[in-house]
């Protein structure tokens, strides 16, 4: 990309210690065990763009999201947002200024709002925490403005979260994310807990807000149709690695990686085009002991010796030996 990217994620890694307790290890023997949740993920997001990470459960997409917003320190690698590295110790003041501009929307709007706070207090929390507005009257006005922006009524501020439906709660969560004038919002499965008609309302709202406020989104989802609808560029994750990264249209018209093809093929088809599916076999392996080489090799119909031994690099937007070697034609997809 020629323009400077707004968010730059470089070789991000995260391991979780899943060893048995120390005493058990001493008595029963056994090594320390680590789970590589994220294993060298790099991508960049341009300003005003929606970048999506899509994958099945256990692929590490939510872990990436948490590291990008800083909820989880990476084991390795760095996240650079608007030129400021989030992991460098030097730029503390700058990092804190940046924090204000990054927000997150979570999957479950029932769990992410404090049930004992009124909505206006929830929405005003970032304003107070960052001391953006000092005078209470102005805070009230700003909260009313934010609630209107997300399609609620300013008077709704006096209600508690339990008085709202799931979709309305997600609107409150969005209002809270916008309260600190955020520019970059990480959305972790923002609509998975919602019904389809409500999901449509929230997705439309997210796009409207992006158009109006020039927001940048990192969207995490397992739902390919949602991702296709929202994202301009998409990264497909499998067992902690990005296996394919490309712009939305291309990914769906011409998926390259065998896993992407399989995933697209597995999605139930509302359009009822009556296409024949290639039967999918197997499930995501246990991430504690992932397969060697390309982690997809046990399920891949094109795997050979090299795939079992060597991790494929991400070249030309796809991490697959078969494609790099020309064994697998790109056009064969459909």
């Amino acid at each position: 990309m020629t323009e400077r990217s707004y968010v730059e994620v470089k070789d991000l890694r995260r391991e979780f210690d899943v060893s048995k307790p120390w005493l058990n290890r001493v008595l029963e023997g056994g090594e320390k065990q680590y789970l590589k949740a994220v294993d060298g993920v790099s991508f960049s997001i341009a300003k005003g763009e929606t970048f999506a990470l899509v994958g099945e459960s256990g692929s590490g997409k939510s872990t990436v999201a948490r590291m990008v917003v800083g909820l989880l320190p990476p084991t390795n690698g760095e996240v650079v947002i608007d030129g400021v590295s989030m992991s460098s110790k030097a730029a503390l003041a700058e990092r804190q200024r940046l924090r204000r501009r990054i927000q997150m929307i979570f999957q479950d709007p029932y769990a992410s709002l404090n049930p004992r706070w009124q909505v206006d207090r929830i929405v005003a929390e970032p304003i107070r925490a960052f001391r953006l507005i000092e005078r209470e009257k102005e805070i009230d006005a700003r909260v009313g403005e934010l609630l209107t922006l997300v399609g609620l009524h300013p008077a709704d501020g006096k209600k508690y979260p339990h008085e709202f439906s799931g979709g309305q709660r997600q609107r409150v969560a969005i209002a809270r994310a916008l309260a600190s004038n955020a520019e970059f919002i990480v959305c972790d499965e923002p609509t998975s807990a919602l019904d389809v008609s409500v999901q449509a309302q929230i997705l439309n709202l997210m796009r409207d807000l992006q158009d109006r406020l020039g927001l940048t989104y990192l969207l995490i989802s397992h739902n390919l149709a949602v991702v296709r609808h929202m994202a301009s560029r998409i990264g497909v994750m499998y067992l902690g690695r990005i296996v394919e990264i490309s712009n939305g249209r291309e990914l769906f018209a011409q998926p390259k990686h065998p896993y992407t093809r399989m995933l697209l093929d597995a999605v139930p088809d509302v359009g009822m085009t009556g296409r024949q599916r290639i039967p999918v076999s197997g499930e995501i392996p246990n991430p504690i002991s992932p397969p060697s080489g390309c982690t997809f090799n046990p399920r891949c119909p094109f795997a050979n010796e090299r795939c079992r031994a060597e991790i494929p690099p991400l070249l030309g937007g796809v991490a697959c030996h078969a494609i790099h070697e020309g064994r697998l034609a790109v056009d064969a997809a459909a």
């Binding site: 389809v196 008609s197 296709r228 359009g271 009822m272």
Partner: protein
């Protein structure tokens, strides 16, 4: 049409609460034929799971079946004494629930659970039942079933566990299987495997399947006919292709438009304003009227009855020939 496997007539389910009686199911009727898959879709609170529970007689107090009847191959089952109903359940109706981990007992091996179920419903000997259990596991696609059968549920992955649950449901070769969100807890690639398994079983055994889900995609792939539920009533029922591609009821239209598609690129999704009413506040007349873009006076006072319209049955005044507005949409 031959005698349907399941026939539900004007079923009503109520929940008695301190604040009054909530009508969870308000007069629904449908049939499922042999080997047919009926999809039941709707959003949360539409009453689709309660419908499933009512058919198998698992409505717990304060809920109760307030009216209507449920016929299984012509035999009325909604008024059976609990002991007889227990024999029908499992033997003639199999069940598959959303979360495979909670429908299996974590303390017993899969073999014990399968063999117990088989021996309860058939008169096979213990070794015979074990052999049948292994055959069932093989049929639902569990590799090396003779080795896997003695594992505990936690030793299986999510998709494999759901296969075990399906095997359990098949133990007594039931006439009807009720599958309540069978793939919702699973990843897409595994979901596709389970869907094709269900389809194959329906085809090969002639089992009638009632598939309850909120996922239109799953219905489109699996079902022969689909019932769209809203606020405890069936808004529209018809052949799946017709309902998905040419929905008649304004709610069904909105629902189909709200689904983001892989095939086409749209800028905005159709959105239905508002959300499903609570059971305690279902509006009079048509329950969809406050959200309906085509609403007219009659909708606010008179409840629409299902009208046959080509192959669909749709509960909407717009399609009533005597209504002045009928040509506006059709």
């Amino acid at each position: 049409m031959a005698q349907p496997v399941l026939s539900v007539r004007d079923l009503r389910v109520e929940f008695v609460t301190r604040r009054g009686i909530l009508k969870a199911i308000d007069g629904i009727s449908f049939d499922i034929g042999k080997g047919e898959v009926l999809g039941v879709v709707g959003e949360s609170g539409a009453g689709k799971s309660v419908t499933g529970s009512a058919v198998i007689g698992l409505i717990d107090p304060p809920g109760r079946i307030a009216g209507g009847e449920v016929l299984l191959s012509g035999m009325r089952i909604d008024n059976l004494p609990p002991e007889e109903m227990r024999r029908v359940r499992g033997k003639r109706i199999g069940m598959i629930f959303q979360d495979p981990l909670t429908s299996l007992n974590p303390l017993y091996r899969v073999s014990e659970q399968l063999i117990e179920t088989i021996r309860t419903h058939t008169n096979l000997s213990a070794p015979g039942a074990r052999k049948r259990a292994i055959d069932l596991l093989a049929e639902v696609g569990i590799p090396a079933p003779e080795r896997r059968i003695d594992s505990y549920p936690h030793e299986f992955s999510g998709g494999m566990r759901q296969r075990v649950v399906i095997a359990l449901a098949l133990c007594a070769e039931p006439e009807l299987i009720i599958a309540d969100e069978p793939t919702t807890a699973l990843d897409v690639s595994v979901q596709a495997q389970i869907i094709s398994l269900l389809k194959r079983l329906g085809r090969e055994h002639g089992t009638a399947i009632m598939l309850v889900t909120h996922d239109m995609g799953v219905i489109a792939e699996t079902a022969d006919r689909v019932a769209v539920m809203y606020a405890g009533r069936i808004a529209e029922i018809g052949p799946v292709r017709d309902v998905v591609q040419n929905p008649l009821h304004p709610y069904a239209k909105g629902l189909m438009g709200a689904i983001p598609s892989l095939e086409s690129e749209t800028d905005r999704l159709v959105q239905i304003p508002g959300s499903m009413p609570r059971l305690s506040a279902i509006p009079p007349g048509c329950p969809f009227n406050p959200r309906c873009p085509y609403v007219f006076d009659r909708c606010r006072v008179e409840r629409p009855e299902p009208i046959q319209h080509s192959e669909h049955r749709v509960a909407c005044h717009l399609y009533d020939q005597s209504s002045a507005r009928s040509e506006a949409v059709a």
